[in-house]
Amino acid sequence: MAATLKAGRLPGASSKRRRMNWTPYLFLLLPLALYFVWIIAPTFYTIYLSLTNWNGVDPIPGFVGLQNFERLFTKDRTFSEALLNNVRWLVVFITIPTTLGLGLAMIFNNEMRGGRWYKISFYSPLVMSLPVIGLIWGWVYHPRAGLLNGFLQAIGVADPPGWLGDRDLAIWAVIIAAVWRQVGYVMVLYLAGLKNIDPSFVDAARVDGANRWQLFRHVILPLLAPVTTIIVVISIIDSLRAFDLVSIMTRGAQDTQVLANFMYIEAFNNYRMGYGAAIAVVLFAISLIFIGFYLSRVIRDELEY
């Protein structure tokens, strides 16, 4: 609204003030209104709710200050378990799919007969919904009749693990299902990145006698750095959002709790909405670090113009 202040110097303005151009605001009116009501305001409202003991029924939530957070960080063991599982998820997500996806992208970047079909196989998990993936993998992990243990028994493992029923393995079993989906995504992003590399860099390195590994290590990898950064940020955000697979495969049992599912259980199953809001705020605070990082890059790109 302050745009009117600096407009006096424009020639042809009838009064000393230039009339503000409302056109962009007219275009923005509807989308911004919707965005404020359903996205921006709710974010702040959750922060407020995290300071209350709201149970979902009381018309006015009772204010309790930072009690919810205090309990989360000092007394709640499920919270630390969930936090640890999110960290595990995150570490696996930024290492394994990134490496595998890059390797596959390097292979498929070359023209090869039938390459299209191989590529489709790797990104087909991307079109499946997470509940579908959860069910399919749940069947793979089935302790008696499943594909995995059927195979293990066939090769002579007498007592194969229970996978989703095993406290030590369950979270990793869930993460593997998530990785299975993520690899195709990373591959697509790297393939796009590889296409954008100027072939003259590669040719120049070849003329200089670089072998394949040197070419990859010292030319291609550095040129892919911006893509890698985006992929790492996306992977982190996705791993913090992890919910569907845990909800479908284990419901958070067998030490597989993650923050997103923990929040859902506390708020919508146990009706501790204020406490749930506090978990959401912790999740939000962690995300904010990476949102800020990503945003700073977007801002830098804009200001370079």
Binding site: I39, I40, L135, L240, F243
Partner: protein
């Protein structure tokens, strides 16, 4: 990897090239075998689900998964489609997804147009707000949105899902479309302005037709995202008859607890719409995926 040297080459060099070709052929045969094995292992969960959906649970329980199927049956699909109401759930998914798509694409092209074409003080702050919003964890929105839909009398309606999907995806769609629209040269609009075209006409008759490729890519990608949503469906809907197929599958899982052939049949049917979109609009789908990840 092909170094095409079509000039006349001495025989010695030709022989060497032939040897290199042979080596490459050997290498590529190895590569094909490697990739084929890897692909089969990769798709094994899907293959397993596919095979299971044609068998009976009795047979699998008795003889194990790796036994040779004695008989193929279609009853599991029939049961999933009718008894487990997957047909109904799929209809619901479309009833939620299509209006959400129309809503988000229309509204985000409005905001993207404003941000791409006009200079005004709040331009960049609004743009950055949209970008930041795309990365929010859904959990930060669940409780207020739940409360708001209740207050508005929209709880347990598909319209509440359409609203939240439209609103949440506005950020990503605006981000992508704004960057696309920035690449449209301004001179086109100057000419139209001289001809007396109004602001909205320029938007609707010039910018929208020019943005169709980006809109198509976005629509394809967003279709799979909204169609595959599970979280909002379980938060905002209570009636099983209203649920989209993602939430419906969770119900089916409870209902057919140990009957995995029916569960896998349902899961495969549920994937069909997004799979078809992917197969027929693959180019747009891939474009959509890469659109959002920077320029």
């Amino acid at each position: 990897m092909t170094t095409a040297a079509k000039t006349t080459t001495p025989p010695a060099v030709q022989a060497e090239a032939r040897a290199a070709n042979m080596r490459r052929l050997g290498g590529s045969a190895g590569l094909y075998i490697f990739l084929t094995v890897l692909t089969i292992v990769w798709l094994l969960p899907v293959i397993a689900a596919f095979i299971t959906s044609f068998r009976t649970m009795d047979e699998i329980s008795i003889q194990g998964f790796w036994s040779i199927p004695q008989q193929f049956t279609l009853t599991n699909f029939n049961e999933a489609w009718n008894q487990a109401r997957v047909s109904r759930y799929l209809g619901n998914s479309f009833a939620i997804t299509i209006p959400s798509l129309i809503g988000m694409l229309f509204l985000s092209s409005l905001s993207a147009y404003a941000l791409a074409r006009y200079k005004f003080r709040l331009n960049l702050p609004i743009y950055f707000m949209f970008v930041a919003g795309t990365m929010l964890p859904f959990q930060i929105l669940l409780l207020p949105v739940f409360r708001l839909t209740n207050a508005l009398g929209l709880y347990n309606t598909q319209f509440s899902l359409i609203l939240i999907h439209t609103a949440f995806q506005l950020g990503f769609c605006t981000f992508v479309l704004r960057n696309f629209m920035k690449t449209v040269p301004g001179e086109i609009f100057d000419a139209a302005r001289v001809d007396g075209a109004g602001e909205f006409r320029m938007f609707w008759q010039i910018m929208i037709p020019l943005s169709l490729p980006a809109l198509a890519a976005l629509a394809t990608l967003e279709f799979t995202w909204v169609f595959n949503d599970y979280l909002w469906a379980i938060i905002l809907l209570q009636d099983d008859a209203l649920k989209p197929v993602t939430a419906g599958l969770a119900t089916l899982r409870g209902q057919f607890n140990t009957n995995w052939p029916v569960i896998t049949a349902g899961a495969l049917i549920a994937t069909l719409p997004t799979l078809l979109v992917f197969i027929f609009l693959q180019r747009y789908f891939i474009q959509g995926l890469t659109l959002g990840s920077g320029k």
